[in-house]
Symmetry: C2
Subunit: 204 residues, 2 copies
DNA sequence: CAATAATGTGAATAGTCATTCACACAAAGG
DNA sequence: CCTTTGTGTGAATGACTATTCACATTATTG
């Protein structure tokens, strides 16, 4: 019984998404070539028609993650004009993203991803740095327009912003969904947004 | 060539520490029984004289982590009386701890640790929750004594507190030490401590 | 001092996994 | 129509890993 023949680009996409899915539901350790193949409806050896090896699959998964993170930043830029509102929306979007796709934090935080692979470690670092840079840009815009206090380094605030989601996300998946990420995010956003608002600005 | 004979309790300790060390420097995936044995100066099969199986070793590693986290909380309670100062010191200690022992965040955040092991997942959740509960207790004391604003849930602030270190720690190890955790922690602590201080309190 | 229990050793086993290879089939282009 | 190229298959291989077992050695206890 042979699977339908599809173009290599389609398969590469399917495989990367399947891999991210497997990581999300079963962890990086469970990511075997056989498992990904089964998910896509292929036989293990077929994977090698589309990828040189497992490393390349993981590399493509990283690209996928990068794309999704960037898409969120672009989306909030289009949705709102006020930088503080953009950050708020980004927080919400970020939470939705990792809620729907647990594989993302798992890939980023799992050192097994890059232990012994300096290039991959560098790639992960680049993805996170790139995301932080974009967040910092939003902050800087807010500082320029006078909505965010200017006496704080934008980069520092960007990392803090990430800190609003990260422990909550981890608690959420360690607790197997019991921890209320959304509530935590809302409440901590209130504290954070008050803290970064420029003096004289009222609170929403 | 036979290794020195030591009591099982000593060996258990050595093995757990060696395991944490291996995870810290090479990741959870590299944690094989053989590697831990070599680190301790034993032969793989000797591990089974002291542990039923690999799972038990990992369970003991979790106990080790729990002990160290609790030790930090107790230490800052002894060092300072002011809750805000206690939190500040805890932040510093936490950073030192994970800097010296990268295995700790790796074990906690690596879902491979507990994927498919519900009891272990529960144990990790318990460790994190217990730590958060202790941090929240510090916050609550600060609220009672009027040093920390009372209009925020202590548990929410505790998670935020964890958020001050966590992304920084990850950036630090993904960047292979290039990211300046200490600087990030100091600056974000400034923002955070101002944000949680009760109105009318001056800033240090 | 003898006996017993605890600890360490090396070889063997069984399982999993990534990767390779020879072959099958289908579409595209000459 | 036939050849080439791209995609899919199943079997085989080699590496690595956790775990077990029969045996050796050392410490402890009566």
């Amino acid at each position: 019984m042979s699977a339908e023949k599809l173009e290599t680009e389609v398969r590469q996409d399917q495989i990367a998404q399947a891999a991210l899915g497997v990581i999300g539901s079963h962890g990086l350790r469970a990511l075997s070539v056989a498992r990904v193949a089964r998910q896509v409806g292929l036989v293990p050896s077929a994977i090698y028609r589309h990828f040189e090896n497992k490393d390349r699959v993981l590399s493509t998964v990283l690209d996928l993650i990068h794309d999704r993170l960037c898409a969120n930043v672009q989306a909030v830029c289009a949705e709102a004009a006020d930088p503080v509102e953009q950050l708020h929306r980004l927080l919400t979007r970020h939470i939705s993203l990792i809620r729907e796709n647990q594989g993302i934090p798992r890939v980023i935080f799992s050192e097994d991803m890059y232990a012994g692979h300096p290039e991959r470690r560098a790639k992960v670092y680049w993805i996170v740095s790139d995301y932080l840079k974009r967040v910092a840009d939003l902050v800087r815009q807010g500082q320029k327009s006078g909505r965010i206090r200017a006496d704080c380094d934008a980069a520092v605030l960007a990392v803090m912003f990430l800190g609003l989601v990260q422990p909550a996300a981890i608690l959420w998946h360690v607790s197997d969904g019991a921890f209320d990420v959304t509530r935590q995010a809302e409440r901590s956003w209130r504290v954070f947004s008050e803290a970064i608002r420029a003096n004289g600005e009222g609170q929403a």
